[in-house]
């Protein structure tokens, strides 16, 4: 649970949150006559719910045919509107999947096998599902695995026990896979290890 509080700051402005409102964004783009214009301006060339939502002031190096093509009118609609989602309040914190709780293990050794993960993570609870993705090009493990437990406590125990631990002599990180809501932008102050409400120590002369 501690992990989910430490979200990384992302470089978009608070008022960009409006762009994350798909309905508002779709209306703007769908009705805009410039939506079909093949201008490689990031906001107008790209569909409403997507890169436009970044709205970062950092200029980007752009590349690719997609910028030169006319925007397909349907594109702005495909990823907008109502989507089925897990029932959640949108706040921070881990989210369960339909059948259990899924954790993400990263830094998995490329020669690891399912058995290795089973051995390392099986002691925290019964593993309902285990996905150890292979890199189809190399045949080795892609470097991450998804593990599902039935109970929150089991998953949490796996995280606190194994995060920063080792698997086949290689360091792994373990965290929740799903969250109940979007990342919140972290106040700069919170980068202080003492927390953003810390007071500086009293001066002593």
């Amino acid at each position: 649970m501690a992990n989910t509080a430490d979200v990384d700051a992302l470089d978009f402005e608070p008022d960009d949150d409006d762009l994350m409102d798909e309905d508002a964004a779709v209306d703007v783009d769908a009705s805009s006559p410039s939506a079909a214009a093949p201008i490689p301006k990031l906001k107008s060339a790209i569909t409403a719910g997507s890169a436009a939502a970044l709205a970062s002031s950092v200029p980007k190096k752009i590349k690719g045919r997609g910028f030169r093509e006319e925007t397909d009118a349907g594109r702005s609609n495909r990823l907008s509107g109502r989507f089925d989602s897990l029932d959640s309040d949108g706040g921070p914190g881990p989210e369960r999947s339909i059948e259990g709780w899924i954790i993400l293990v990263t830094g998995v050794h490329e020669e690891a096998q399912e058995d290795d993960l089973q051995n390392a993570f099986g002691e925290f609870g019964e593993i309902k599902n285990l996905h150890l993705n292979l890199d189809r090009r190399t045949g080795f493990v892609k470097g991450y695995a998804l593990i599902e437990y039935e109970n929150f406590e089991e998953a949490e125990k796996a995280i606190t026990s194994m995060d920063g631990g080792e698997l086949l002599t290689q360091a792994v990180n373990v965290d929740w896979a799903f969250s109940r809501g979007p990342f919140k932008r972290k106040n700069n102050r919170r980068r202080s290890p003492r927390g953003h409400r810390s007071r500086s120590p009293q001066r002593r002369f």
């Binding site: 992990n3 989910t4 990384d8 700051a9 992302l10 470089d11 978009f12 994350m20 990031l42 790209i46 719910g49 997507s50 890169a51 970044l54 970062s56 950092v58 980007k60 190096k61 752009i62 590349k63 690719g64 045919r65 997609g66 910028f67 093509e69 495909r78 990823l79 509107g81 109502r82 989507f83 089925d84 989602s85 897990l86 959640s88 881990p94 989210e95 339909i98 059948e99 899924i102 993400l104 990263t106 996905h131 993705n133 890199d135 189809r136 090009r137 892609k142 470097g143 991450y144 998804l146 965290d175 929740w176 896979a177 799903f178 969250s179 109940r180 809501g181 979007p182 990342f183 980068r191």
Partner: protein, 148 residues
């Protein structure tokens, strides 16, 4: 910690969108998903062939998941590629891959790639191969995470 976040695998924005589809006798059939910077993963699958229903799902991913996605994209070196010599989308279908990572934004389009043979015989086998495998990974990742 903040310092090591800056770099290809770390800080800055991350956004990935993938689309594959075609317009045929069954209408517009497509699959598309999107990893957004705030962690939302959206997935839409419209296959009229099945029974005319569109599947649309979304879920929020943790920063750890996005960080891993970013690492895999970075390792693939797709950001260094260009779709100049890739086959253009055609009547059979099209694929779109759009990625924002740090201060780079790529938006590639190409036709459907049926097999590695298509990759091998293309004008840019190296680049297409990178694209092909990255797409394989992204499809797998999104389908696993949405397997509910």
């Amino acid at each position: 910690m903040a310092e090591e976040e800056n770099g290809a695998a770390g800080g800055g924005e991350f956004y990935l969108r993938y689309y594959v589809g075609h317009k045929g006798k069954f209408g517009h059939e497509f699959l598309e998903f999107e990893f957004r910077p705030d962690g939302k993963l959206r997935y839409a699958n419209n296959s009229n062939y099945k029974n005319d229903t569109m599947i649309r799902k979304e879920v929020f991913l943790t920063p750890s998941v996005l960080k891993e996605c970013r690492r895999i994209v970075s390792d693939s070196e797709i950001m260094k590629e260009d779709d100049n010599n890739w086959p253009e989308p055609d009547r059979v279908g099209r694929q779109e891959l759009e990625i924002v990572m740090g201060n780079e934004h790529i938006s590639f389009t190409t036709s459907k790639i049926g097999s590695l043979m298509d990759v091998q015989t293309s004008k840019d086998p190296e680049g297409l191969r990178i694209f092909y495998y990255l797409v394989q990974f992204a499809l797998l990742a999104s389908s696993v995470e949405l397997a509910w």
